[in-house]
């Protein structure tokens, strides 16, 4: 009896956050967990960025000046791993945590304690991964794609730490995805049918299904590596009757949906922001939903386009070429819809809008080079050169990262109850938008001219472009420090958020009071 009474009593007093470190260690509030994800992602963005700076410094001039080739290999390996698994993916989970309950009228995520566990696995996993720098054998140097047998027979013992880290990241991601699906399916406000959900929620729902489908595949492939390395199996070892190529099939069955895991939430964010600042509804909402679904489906059946040069049989090459080309159709639909959303709107250009428009422009460039690489014979030349480096960085940096910046500026006023400095944010935008192109556009040229990726040094004809690329990289890297300054400044001393943050913003998250109470939507709103 008395225990029940205390429990009720306890709940009654539980209005605000807990005091001290306990608030974060035992957080179950979606806002707190979202905040932790976002800060972790930001920290990892700078760690991965620091690795990229080492890469660009070494490539500033021909010859080796700064690091030996082994270090160089570690730098781009860890750059890729940290950016993919430590920065972009967790950042989107942070967005999901903050925004999905606010946008669908739910009081919290469906499974708050699992939410806490899935967050805390993340820093542990990243620590395991990064700790390899301080071990004998040093950090992984086999590329973020860790092709066997370079990552099995020929890798240092630290590769086992990498495997363990990937396992933990996978568990964390799967739990996060389950939580997102459970929340969206069960906790939508009355009246919010699936086809009334905001685009960001839709894209995350589809992303979550991708995560659940492919993270176990990743876990499977690293487990096979683990047993190859330690327990005498020969999954990927030709001398034991295994098949090194099978590694690539399994890896890319995970890897291709993985790239959509990073980009689909960006589509969602941009689809929220463009209508707000164009003061006009999203063009073709239904087709946007179907296009996202189509992209997600296609992502499972195109992995072979990463493997055109591996000696796939002709029929396989043709199939993967045709299937990959199909992705251009739904992707095109999305881009046309965004352009049509802007068309005859009444646009203003605050920082979220600037980043979103830049996203549409620059992601389109990444999409078009993707279409070029879908063509099997042409890919025989493009493959594994700086052309592909340019391609995927266009989709991930002015793609996913710009969408993250856009989303942060867009929602920061409700997250922290204070406005950011618009003038500084615009400077941040212009510096980023210009430098990112100086950084990545010339990579198309050196790639076409024949510079392979993942090399610490290059023939002299690539010297001038590499210097320009490096300068672009340094400016881009440094300008991101502005972002931290702007966010911290907003949190500490920004003007209080007005009742109407953005004139054209629509959706449940904008109907809440400012500053946001610790618990929101405790009674579900009604959507008509």
């Amino acid at each position: 009896m008395s225990t029940t009474a205390t429990a009720v009593e306890g709940e009654h007093h539980h209005h605000g956050p807990a005091k001290g470190i306990g608030r974060w260690l035992f957080a179950t509030n979606h806002k707190d967990i979202g905040t932790m994800y976002l800060w972790t992602a930001l920290a990892m963005f700078f760690l991965g960025g620091a690795f990229a700076m080492v890469i660009r410094m070494e490539l500033f001039q021909p010859g080796l000046q700064l690091v030996n080739p082994d270090w160089f290999n570690r730098m781009f390996t860890m750059h890729g791993l940290v950016m993919v698994f430590g920065a972009i993916m967790p950042a989107w989970v942070g967005f999901a945590n903050w925004q999905i309950p606010l946008m669908i009228g739910a009081p919290d995520m469906a499974m708050p304690r699992m939410n806490l566990l899935s967050y805390w696995l993340l820093p542990v996993a990243l620590l395991v991964l990064v700790s390899t720098f301080f071990m004998e054998g040093n950090a992984p140097a086999f590329g973020w794609t860790f092709y066997a047998p370079l990552s099995t027979t020929f890798a240092p013992d630290t590769a086992d730490f990498f495997i363990f880290g990937v396992h933990l990241l996978g568990i964390s991601s799967i739990m996060g995805a389950i939580n997102v699906i459970a929340t969206i399916v069960n906790l939508r406000a009355p009246g919010m049918t699936l086809m009334k959900m905001p685009m960001f929620v839709w894209t995350w729902l589809i992303t979550a299904f991708l995560l659940i489908a492919v993270m176990p595949v990743l876990a499977g492939v690293v487990t096979m590596m683990l047993t190859d390395r330690n327990f005498g199996t020969a999954f990927f070892d030709a001398s034991g009757g295994g098949d090194p190529l099978m590694f690539q099939h399994i890896f890319w069955f995970f890897g291709h949906p993985e790239v959509y895991i990073m980009i689909l939430p960006s589509f969602g964010v941009v689809s929220q922001i463009l209508p707000t600042f164009a003061r006009k509804p999203l063009f073709g909402y239904a087709s946007m939903v179907y296009a996202t679904g189509a992209i997600a489906f296609l992502s499972f059946i195109v992995w072979g386009h990463h493997m055109f040069a591996t000696g796939l049989p002709l029929a396989g090459e043709l199939y993967f070429m045709y299937a990959t080309m199909l992705i251009a159709v739904p992707t095109g639909v999305k881009i046309f819809n965004w352009a049509a959303t802007m068309w005859r709107g009444s646009m203003t250009f605050e920082a979220p809008m600037l980043f979103s428009i830049a996203f549409v422009f620059l992601f389109t460039i990444g999409g078009l080079t993707g279409l070029m690489m879908a063509m099997g014979p042409a890919d025989m030349q493009y493959h594994s050169t700086y052309f592909i480096v340019a391609h995927f960085h266009y989709t991930l940096v002015p793609g996913a990262v710009f969408a993250l910046m856009a989303g942060t500026y867009y929602w920061l006023p409700i997250w922290c109850g204070r406005m950011y400095d618009e003038k500084l944010a615009k400077i941040h935008f212009w510096l980023s938008a210009i430098s990112v192109n100086v950084l990545f556009f010339p990579q198309h040229f050196v790639g076409l001219a024949g510079m392979p990726r993942r090399v610490p040094d290059y023939p002299l004809q690539f010297a001038d472009f590499n210097m320009i690329i490096s300068i672009g990289g340094f400016v881009y890297g440094l300008s991101q420090l502005m972002f931290v300054y702007i966010v911290v400044k907003a949190i500490r001393s920004g003007k209080p958020t007005p009742d109407q943050v953005w004139e054209g913003a629509k959706g449940l998250e904008w109907e809440l009071p400012n500053p946001l109470p610790f618990h929101t939507h405790t009674t579900p709103p009604r959507v008509d």
Partner: protein, 379 residues
């Protein structure tokens, strides 16, 4: 000359040292290549044409989409008094922009399919060469001749990696032994690897093909124009991935035949040179050359290695240990590491020389030597 002039000259000299280091000397070597090569084969020309078609289609799409957006950005802005329309759907237009791209894709698929079928047609070749990727060199085996050899990064490039490569001809694109093929013949390549995955790419031929242990991938080329064509490994294969170039020399048939004969007699002579006793100085000289070619990538020019993956030769347990163990390690390697079994790659003289060199260089001063006859006996 006045003092002023002197100072001026000094300043100029200083600038002259600085500026070239950054820009000028590089501009001298520079090529502002922007585009894919057209190459020298039918395949590479076809690929180039597909690439250009794709590029122009992408440019047209890009200009269209960006044009609409830019027009919209400048016209439909609130500051110009634009009032937002409220349309948000049009089935017609959505069907149009789904169907048109689909048709464009079909148009692009046709030449790509034809090209891919041709690329994979390895039949009716005139000769076959097996290409084997090793960490970090290529082995070429002429299957129709009794001829095979290794191709390493040239010393001219290797020597300058850690200093100033700007004056080196074909920096990182030169090898000690070039692959030589006859002009006008359909050459089939059988591509595989000995350790990890590599990828064999000569852009002028229009394709690359992965070299995968346990697999033999086929590819072919027919080069009409004699010349020297250069490429690089394009699959991450460990620390010296960036330092295993490919150089193919295409010679007219007669010159090619002469080259084959010459290579064969050279191989015979090299094998025969192992029949005599070698002096210490000879072994050391030969050994240094072999070391700088095959050992240096891991064990480094100063013999310090990059521990723990690549142990030091200087004062190393093996190289200062019993001579038998040292030779055994060099000949049979350490399975599962980058330390290969060099018995299959080096001849008796080379093995004897390099082991001798390692035992007497880098301050090891063991004073002993291995003779080619010892290697022969150990085989």
């Amino acid at each position: 000359m006045s003092a002023n002039g002197n100072r001026m000259a000094r300043r100029l000299a200083w600038l002259g040292a600085l500026v070239p280091a950054l820009f000028v000397s590089q501009v001298a070597n520079a090529a502002w290549d922007l585009n894919l090569t057209q190459g020298v084969t039918e395949t590479s020309q076809t690929v180039f044409d597909i690439h250009m078609t794709l590029l122009w289609i992408c440019v047209v799409i890009g200009v269209g989409v960006f044009g609409v957006m830019i027009y919209s950005i400048f016209t439909h802005r609130k500051s110009k008094g634009a009032v937002a329309a409220q349309f948000h759907e049009s089935t017609t237009i959505e069907i149009i922009w789904t169907v048109i791209p689909t048709l464009l894709l079909v148009v692009m698929a046709i030449p790509s399919t034809v090209a891919l079928i041709d690329l994979e047609d390895n039949s009716a070749s005139d000769m076959s060469i097996q290409v084997v990727g090793y960490q970090w060199k290529w082995q070429y085996k002429y299957l129709d001749e009794e001829l095979d050899f290794f191709s390493n990064l040239a010393a001219s490039s290797r020597d300058q990696i850690n200093s100033d490569p700007t004056g080196v001809d074909n920096y990182l694109l030169e090898v000690d032994n070039r692959l030589v093929i006859p002009a006008g013949k359909k050459v089939r390549f059988l591509i595989t690897a000995n350790d990890v995955i590599h990828s064999w790419w000569v852009p002028d031929f229009g394709w690359k093909q992965d070299a995968i242990p346990g697999f033999i991938n086929e590819a072919w080329t027919r080069v009409e124009e004699p010349g020297i064509y250069r490429g690089q490994c394009t699959e991450l294969c460990g620390i010296d991935h960036g330092f295993m170039p490919i150089v193919v020399e295409v010679k007219p048939q007669a010159e090619y035949d002469a080259w084959v004969a010459e290579q064969k007699s050279a191989l015979k002579a090299a094998a025969a040179s192992g029949d005599r006793e070698w002096a210490m100085a000879e072994l050391m000289e030969k050994g240094e050359e072999v070391y700088m070619r095959v050992c240096v990538a891991c064990h480094q020019a100063n013999g310090q290695g990059i521990p723990p993956a690549f142990p030091a030769i200087a004062g190393g347990a093996i190289s200062t240990g019993p001579i038998k163990g040292h030779l055994d390690q060099a000949m049979n390697g350490v399975p599962g590491t980058a330390m290969q079994a060099f018995a299959a790659q080096l001849n008796d003289v080379e093995l004897a020389a390099v082991v001798t060199y390692q035992r007497n260089a880098f301050g090891n001063e063991m004073g002993d030597m291995v003779q080619p006859a010892d290697v022969k006996a150990a085989r």
